[in-house]
């Protein structure tokens, strides 16, 4: 039997549906999540199966319903909040960072906040500066939160299930451009533990450490490099926290050259952390400085030729890698 393929969006939906069947305490809160199934149609069909008591359309109150979810999680529910665009997490920072992330610690371990925030990242949809950001670095900075960045349909399903079963607040970033990406996804129940990196492609000459959308870009660049006789390894941390430092460092030691890729801004961003971890951990094995690639340091512009210049592409990664391997 050929492997079953699902899109990334379908994989997310299947994870949600399976978990909601398993555990009646799980509910979904967000704007237009019910009949509309979100603007990306990721949740289509869920309200029909689980009813409007478990898939709740909210007012446009990101702070309010995120805060509500924190309290609901503390008192026996397992809420999942849907923040339509990752750009809107700005409105939820207090509830996520000052409340959700700290409740367990501040209460001396007495209260827990088992909730998931699902949101999006990624540019090149011609959506301009307020609908194109990849702000995962902020949450990754905060003790008490876990941050997941799936890069394939398979990972999306397994990681989302793990996130839902986790006893902590977990933020799950989905790349909008990946929703239609297809890949094999087993029918059965499986989880992928948070904090375990995945080597998406083995190679010897250079390591790409890439997150989310950039994993596909790195894989594309690796194919281009192969034609030039350069063997690239692609490592996907899958979660920025907990971070599987060892797998990253081991790969760096093996290839001795590293490019770190994340679609967020590099400055004070995800690539800064990953590069630091590698530069420290593989210090004596690196042939050249770790290179960081991410969004250009500008608010994402609307104009297509400008926007396209802001994000690393297969071609630009390929060229950077080739130069490094010379």
């Amino acid at each position: 039997m050929p492997e079953r393929e699902l899109t990334f969006a379908q994989a997310v939906r299947e994870a949600l549906a399976e978990e909601m069947r398993r555990d009646s305490r799980i509910c979904i809160l967000g704007e237009d999540v019910a009949e509309a199934g979100t603007p990306f149609k990721v949740l289509s069909g869920l309200v029909e199966e689980f009813g409007p008591q478990r898939v709740l359309d909210t007012p446009i109150s990101e702070a309010g319903f995120t805060g509500l979810a924190v309290g609901a999680a503390m008192t026996g529910m397992r809420p999942i909040v849907d923040i339509m665009f990752g750009d809107f997490i700005t409105l939820t920072m207090d509830q996520m960072v000052n409340q959700a992330a700290k409740v367990h610690y501040m209460s001396g371990g007495h209260w827990k906040v088992p909730m998931v925030m699902r949101t999006t990242l990624g540019a090149t949809r011609r959506s301009a500066a307020q609908h194109s950001q990849s702000l995962q670095a902020w949450f990754s900075h905060v003790p008490g939160l876990k941050v997941v960045l799936p890069s394939t349909p398979y990972d999306a399903k397994g990681l989302l299930k793990a996130a839902i079963r986790d006893e902590n607040p977990v933020v799950f970033f989905e790349d909008k451009m990946m929703y239609k990406l297809k890949g094999p996804v087993p029918d059965e129940d499986y989880t992928i533990p948070l904090g375990v990196a995945d080597v998406k492609r083995e190679g010897d000459d250079i390591t790409f450490i890439a997150t989310s959308s950039m994993v596909q870009v790195a894989l594309g660049a690796a194919s281009l490099l192969e034609k030039e006789g350069i063997s690239a390894e692609v490592v996907d941390p899958r979660t920025t926290w907990p971070l599987d430092e060892k797998t990253l460092i081991d790969s760096a030691k093996k290839t001795s050259r590293v490019i770190v890729l994340d679609e967020g801004y590099g400055r004070y961003g995800v690539t800064a952390e990953l590069a630091s971890v590698v530069a420290e951990g593989a210090f004596y094995d690196l042939d050249s400085p770790v290179k960081r690639m991410g969004a250009m340091h500008v608010p994402i512009p609307f104009s297509p030729p400008l926007e396209d210049a802001t994000v690393p592409t297969e071609q630009s990664v390929f060229e950077a890698a080739r130069k490094m391997c010379k």
Partner: protein, 334 residues
């Protein structure tokens, strides 16, 4: 003494009145035809991304902006074309912006949701629901502190009633008696959800709770919108403080140009009813004819002129060049 108006004076008033409402009519038609062209550009795959059309809501933007001076401020929303045009923006530069061209209002960097224009006091459309309520209130703050007697109008959809910051700034505006008019365009839907599913209590009470003067008008009747707006603007200009205006209206199209199949959240009949019974352009047109200010032909003439102007603007925008790629790193910092 109010009855002793000479014919001469009455004649002058009538002429001014006629001119004014014909101008208003033309503006509403401009918005409608602008939006038709936007949809066309989208359908022909000439426009990058999406846009949120204002068709059906024209009386709100025009009725209010007609009560403003050019140096008064507005802030707008993701559904902002109508506000921009009503405040005086040029369709040429707007279309250019929608296509991401250098000749656009934001040099192509903003797109449909971020059109801004200092020349007409347009502080910018905003793609964050409720994102500009602070900005508008701050413009009112400046007007008061710099003593310019300007007024700021904050347009937002009823969906923005869900954003707490609206209440924070209304409180500030009322405490400090800032010249800000909060205009709630209640087009009944937050995206794909009816506002009654998201809005407890009443809309007006959300403002009166802060002691803010508030009124509710038929947002399809441009003369009613304009009348109340004029009163509120005058009051604000004289230091009377903020006001809140709920305009009940309707968007004819989808939430955005790509929202084609809408029957799961609203019926075709409902849409049809608004279009046939409550169209703001038709309503004003009928009144103009009743008043003897226009006839069907002269109104058609206006539409024809506007249509041509829009075609020219579209042509300009389609042919205009993109900004050079080096532009991408400009304007991050002033």
């Amino acid at each position: 003494m109010t009855t002793l108006i000479t014919n001469h004076e009455a004649g002058r008033d009538t002429a001014a009145e006629k001119e004014k409402w014909l101008r208003v009519y033309r503006k509403m038609v401009s918005i409608r035809l602008f939006e038709e062209n936007v949809n066309e550009l989208y359908t022909r795959a000439l426009m990058p991304g999406l846009a949120h059309l204002y068709s059906g809501e024209e009386a709100v933007a025009v009725g209010i902006c007609e009560a403003l001076r050019i140096d008064d401020y507005i802030t707008s929303t993701h559904r902002g074309h109508g506000h921009c045009l009503a405040k005086g923006a040029s369709p040429h530069r707007m279309f250019a912006e929608l296509l991401g061209k250098e000749a656009g209002y934001c040099r192509g960097k903003g797109g449909s949701m971020h059109i801004a224009d200092p020349a007409t006091g347009n502080l910018g459309a905003n793609a964050i629901v409720g994102g500009s309520v602070g900005i508008a209130t701050g413009a009112g703050f400046s007007a008061k502190h710099l003593d310019t007697d300007r007024v700021a109008v904050c347009f937002f959809g009823e969906g923005a009633l869900g954003q707490g910051s609206l209440y924070e700034v209304m409180n500030l505006a009322q405490l400090w008696k800032l010249p800000v008019i909060y205009v709630c365009e209640n087009n009944q839907y937050n995206e794909y959800t009816h506002y009654q599913e998201t809005t407890a209590g009443t809309i007006l009470a959300r403002a009166t709770a802060f002691g803010i003067e508030a009124a509710r008008v038929d947002g399809q009747d441009v003369r009613e919108v304009h009348e109340v707006a004029t009163r509120f603007v005058k009051r604000a200009r004289l230091g009377g403080g903020p006001a809140f205006l709920q305009c009940d209206t309707y968007r004819y199209s989808g939430h955005h140009v790509g929202d084609i199949n809408r029957e799961y959240y609203r019926s075709k009949q409902e849409e049809q009813l608004w279009k046939t019974e409550r169209d703001p352009i038709k309503m004003l047109g009928n009144w103009l004819i009743d008043q003897g200010y226009a006839d069907a032909r002269s109104l058609e003439g206006i539409s024809e002129e506007v249509r041509k102007a829009m075609e020219a603007a579209v042509k300009f925008a389609v042919e205009a060049p993109y900004p050079p790629v080096e532009e991408v790193e400009k304007h991050v910092y002033a």
